[in-house]
Each structure stands twice: as structure tokens, then as C-alpha cells.
Symmetry: C2
Subunit: 334 residues, 2 copies
């Protein structure tokens, strides 16, 4: 048997901690014998939650952390001062090599800062992008950067494109993934200063399958597997995807309740609609990796339920077994 993939899980992070986090961890351990989980957080609380389940305790360990970093706290300060917080302890487990990866639904800011300051960047990587998977009508795409680096430079976007291609190919299994530059027009000369400078660099880059500019309108149509942009644009893409979906689904549900006729119809379409909407929900996929670090840091939604935590933990197996960081080092670092 090959070595276990060891994942530190922040039991205190997110709106549904600790219950859903602990449940997700237990389910992940049950679902795949290659994984070992370290539940990091307040031991008595975690123990209480674990009473609800039976599970292989040789692959589920508690690591006590007395503090919690709240979502609103200034991240740099929090990481520096709360040494006994679950996020910081997760980070050190990865940094010290006791774990291969960490999963947290906690403060995005603290995870971004902790990832860079504690886990640390792979030498030669300028900035680590946060790379969520987003749904499209035909499947999924990887969107990076989505929160870590506003006002990024063209050379950084090229690294995002290359790391994203490796991740999409090796972890998600998309052969020769199509890379698109998020822009306001498809023509090469369109865009702002950043995209105009980045386009020719991506075009020259032999290691990726660059398909040119992608307009936001075509992102949900799935025209590209890897979507490259700086974090301000990426955040808008991600949040509009979530916001428009929620708004529209809310409107549709309300519309269906507007008459007796439509209420009857709603009862009949409900199962089919539920399946459809599930495939188009950003919460159905694993968390977002912060790529280019010495170890894997995965950020999941603040509202993560057990299924997302489980998926995020299992995602770490492919990341380790496919030697993503080794590939990044060999292929990208100058």
C-alpha cells in the first residue's frame, strides 16, 4: 500500500463549522482508504461531534487548536497573533511536512496570507492564484485568479495559465485544456492595459493550448477549460455567476408559485429542476486550490456543507498522486 495522503482540515472554519466539517471529514475517510484526516480545532467540540459517527480512527486524528480566526478579522494581524488558531495550526502541519494538504472553509484573507507567509511559495512562482472550479453548461472550468492578486502583472497571468493547465490536466483529467484570457472582446487588440500586454505572452507560450480572448458572456457556455484573469475580474466573474444563478432561481421559484396552474406544474418539474440546478451550482465542486505553494492549500466556500468538505479532501489525493507541485517546479519555474 502506498503512503497515506494526509490532509489537515480546519474544523472551526465556515458558517457550518464544526458539524458539517466534521461530517465531511468522516465521510471522506470512509470514502477513500488512501486518505488520513487531521481535524484541527477545539478538541472537546470536535470530540462531541465525532460521537455521532463511527469511523476508522486510525485515519482520523484530532489536533487541538484553542483559537478561531473570525471572517471579519484583518488577515495579516490574525495570522501573526493567533498562533493557536485552527487555520495557523493547519498551515504549520503542511509547512512542517506532517500533512500534504489543508482544507479550510474559514476566512479567505487569512488563508491567502497564511498560505504565502507560513506554507510559502514555490521558489520562482511570483504569486499564488486562488483557483475555483466553476460550472458551465457542458461541464466545468478552472477560473484563476479569483481572489489573491488584484492589479496583477502580465508575467503573473502567464504563470496562472500554466499552473491552471497543469491542474486541469492532472487533477481534473482534461486533456490539453483550452486556456482563455478573460477579456471584453475576442479580438487580440481588445481590452485594458493588462490584457493587451498579456495576450502576446500567452500566444507565444508553447506549453499551453491558448485559444485567445474569452468574453464573459461565453464563460457559462464553457468555451474554455482554464480562464485566466487578475483577481478583481475573477472575483466579479465568480460572484456574478453565483449571484445571477441565485437571483434567477429565486425569481423562477416565485414565478412558479404565482398561480394554481403553475404550482401544479412546479410539483411535476421539481425533481428534474433540482438535478439541473445541482449541476450548475458552484457549491457542488471541490474547493479552490491556492496554486504554487509548498504544499496544497484548499479554500472551500464559507457556506460549505459536508459534501463540499468531503470532495475537497478527496481532491487532495489526485493533487498528491499526480505530483502537481513537482510538475509546477519542473515545468514553470525558470
Amino acid at each position: 500500500m502506498s503512503e497515506l495522503v494526509k490532509v489537515a482540515v480546519d474544523a472551526m472554519g465556515g458558517d457550518n463549522a464544526p458539524a458539517e466539517i466534521v461530517k465531511g471529514a468522516v465521510n471522506a475517510v470512509g470514502a477513500d482508504s488512501r486518505v488520513k484526516v487531521f481535524l484541527v480545532g477545539k478538541e472537546p467540540v470536535i470530540k462531541e461531534e465525532l460521537k455521532k459517527y463511527t469511523c476508522d480512527t486510525t485515519r482520523l486524528e484530532i489536533v487541538h487548536a484553542g483559537e478561531v480566526i473570525e471572517t471579519g478579522e484583518p488577515p495579516v494581524m490574525a495570522i501573526r497573533q493567533k498562533k493557536d488558531s485552527s487555520i495557523v495550526k493547519c498551515m504549520y502541519l503542511v509547512k512542517d511536512g506532517q500533512c500534504d494538504a489543508l482544507v479550510s472553509a474559514g476566512s479567505t484573507g487569512a488563508i491567502l496570507v497564511g498560505g504565502q507567509v507560513i506554507v510559502g511559495r514555490i521558489k520562482g512562482i511570483e504569486r499564488p492564484p486562488l483557483a475555483p472550479i466553476i460550472p458551465n453548461v457542458n461541464g466545468i472550468s478552472l477560473l484563476l485568479d479569483c481572489g489573491a492578486n488584484v492589479d496583477a502583472k502580465p508575467s503573473q497571468l502567464v504563470q496562472f495559465a500554466r499552473m491552471g493547465s497543469i491542474y486541469m490536466e492532472s487533477v481534473i483529467g482534461v486533456k490539453n485544456p483550452k486556456v482563455g484570457l478573460v477579456n471584453i472582446g475576442v479580438e487580440e487588440e481588445k481590452g485594458n492595459g493588462l490584457t493587451k500586454e498579456t495576450y502576446p505572452l500567452l500566444k507565444e507560450c508553447k506549453e499551453i493550448h491558448f485559444i485567445g480572448n474569452v468574453e464573459a458572456r461565453d464563460i457559462p457556455m464553457g468555451v474554455a477549460d482554464v480562464l485566466v484573469c487578475e483577481a478583481f475580474a475573477g472575483n466579479i466573474v465568480l460572484k456574478m455567476l453565483e449571484g445571477v444563478s441565485d437571483a434567477l432561481i429565486g425569481k423562477i421559484k416565485a414565478g412558479m408559485m404565482s398561480s394554481l396552474r403553475s404550482k401544479l406544474g412546479a410539483l411535476l418539474v421539481k425533481p428534474a429542476l433540482k438535478r439541473t440546478l445541482k449541476s450548475f451550482s458552484t457549491e457542488e465542486y471541490g474547493g479552490a486550490p491556492l496554486l504554487g505553494l509548498n504544499g496544497l492549500v484548499v479554500k472551500t466556500h464559507g457556506s460549505s456543507k459536508a459534501i463540499e468538505i468531503q470532495n475537497s479532501i478527496l481532491q487532495c489525493i489526485a493533487f498528491k498522486e499526480q505530483n502537481i507541485n513537482q510538475k509546477i517546479k519542473e515545468q514553470i519555474v525558470p
Copy 2:
């Protein structure tokens, strides 16, 4: 009777020209006796279309233009060289004071360039933003800038906020409209260089009702009446709104066709669903004004049908009667 509002309409612009444009113009003339339309384009073609309708010809005139600017043409060159094009002729009708406004579904680039070069900016206005109306769950918002000025400066965003407020209050009728800065977090210190510099300027601006940063996720929820951003971000907001809606509606329709049960349900919910989706379609509202010019330039969707052309023409009445440009001059210009 007060003076007629004279609107030049580009009969050759857009995917559905000339048929839908001419139809929209005829309907507008029929709908409101305060408006006179000048249909600009190839006279024989327009005449042929007009045969389909009966209408008050004292308020519908043809202005011949022998050329057409195509969507793919480089805009600066097209505006300079195609003096006999429908867009350029519309622009001169406004510049020369023969018309108060123009409506075109043609090349966005050519309209932006022509608006600035031919119609000209109001003195003191740094850059004219393109300001489409977008739907939200509770009503509508004005999004500006949405195509004209990438890499904009903070002072320009402040002008966008002020012009947007005037437009929203006087043309759309929203009292004391809430102005939000599109950003990646709600806290004042969040964002990129541009938004961080713009936030305090908007906060100090006494003439608007600034509510702070707005995350993209909350845009479809209708948290702000006026959404301020530079054109790269604005384009992504608009195009994601359209793209996600289309993708999701496509998925839902396909999902409803997946079983006999759901097909039956679909028949029952169809009328309610249609009403719902109509209120959330960007095409249901008038065109996007290019604010801050010496006259009104309205850009409608390339795919505009007669109803959008009609709405856009009628929108020009409020714009003129409310003296928007006079208000912009008095209130904004330093």
C-alpha cells in the same frame, strides 16, 4: 403643443436591421405624439419596409445614407472614412442640432468613437460612460461604465456616479438613487488601486447618495440603483448577467424536457415562467445612453427587436424634457 423630440434612428445597425428597426420606429411614432423620428439609411430599403405600415408621415422622415459600418470594422477608421454611413449621418444630425438624440443598434465601437469625435463631450466631462440599465430581482439598476473607458481614473468614476444619479432620478424616476462602487468586498479598504482611491472621493461627494462598496454577488439582488465601475469590470458584470441567465435558462428548459412528468409540468409552468424571465432579460429595457455628450446617443443591443428600438426612442423624450444635459452642465462641470 411643445416642441417635438427629434430622434435620429440608425435603420441599418444591428442584426435585425432594417426590418425590426423600422418597425420599432413606426411603433414609437404611433405610441407617443411628442416624438419625430428620422430613419437614417438606404432610402429604397427603408421605403420598402415602410410599405408594411401606415403611420403619421409628418413625424417620420427618411434621411438617405449610402454606406453601412459593419460590426467588425475598426471604429476610428470607419468613422473617419465612411462619411455617408448611417451612424455618421445620425451623429451629424445630433451635432448640427437637427435632432436631439440618436438611437443605434450598430457597432458599439463606432458609436463610442463617433459620439466623442462628432457629437462631442460636454465641456468639463472627462469621459462619457456607456450606461445600460440592468434588471435585478426588485427592479432595475444603471451600470456605468460599461464599455467606453477601460483603465479609468478615480475622478472619472466620480463623474460617472454623478451623471448616473441624475439620469436615474430624472429619466427613470428613482428618487435619491443609491450609488454603489462595484468592488470585491464591502469594506472600505478592499479592492484594487482604482477602487481604493475612488471610495473616499465618492464618500466625500455630497451630491450623491453613496452606499459604499457593492460585491458582484449582490448586484442581481438590487442593492444599488447606480453601479459605478470602470468599463472592464462593467463589461464583465453585464456579460455575465446575460451569459449566466442564458445558460441557466437553457439548462432549465432542457431539464424540463428530460421526462414525461417534467414535460407535463413544463406546459403548466410555461406562462408564469415566461413572465418571470421577461422581467429579468436585459433586452426588455431601453438602450444604453452614452452620458456626458452634447446631445443624447443611445446604444441598443446588436440583437435589438422592434420593442427595444421603440423603448429606446421613447426614452429620449424624458431625457430631453428633463433637461438632463443642462443638469449635467450645471451640477457636475467644475
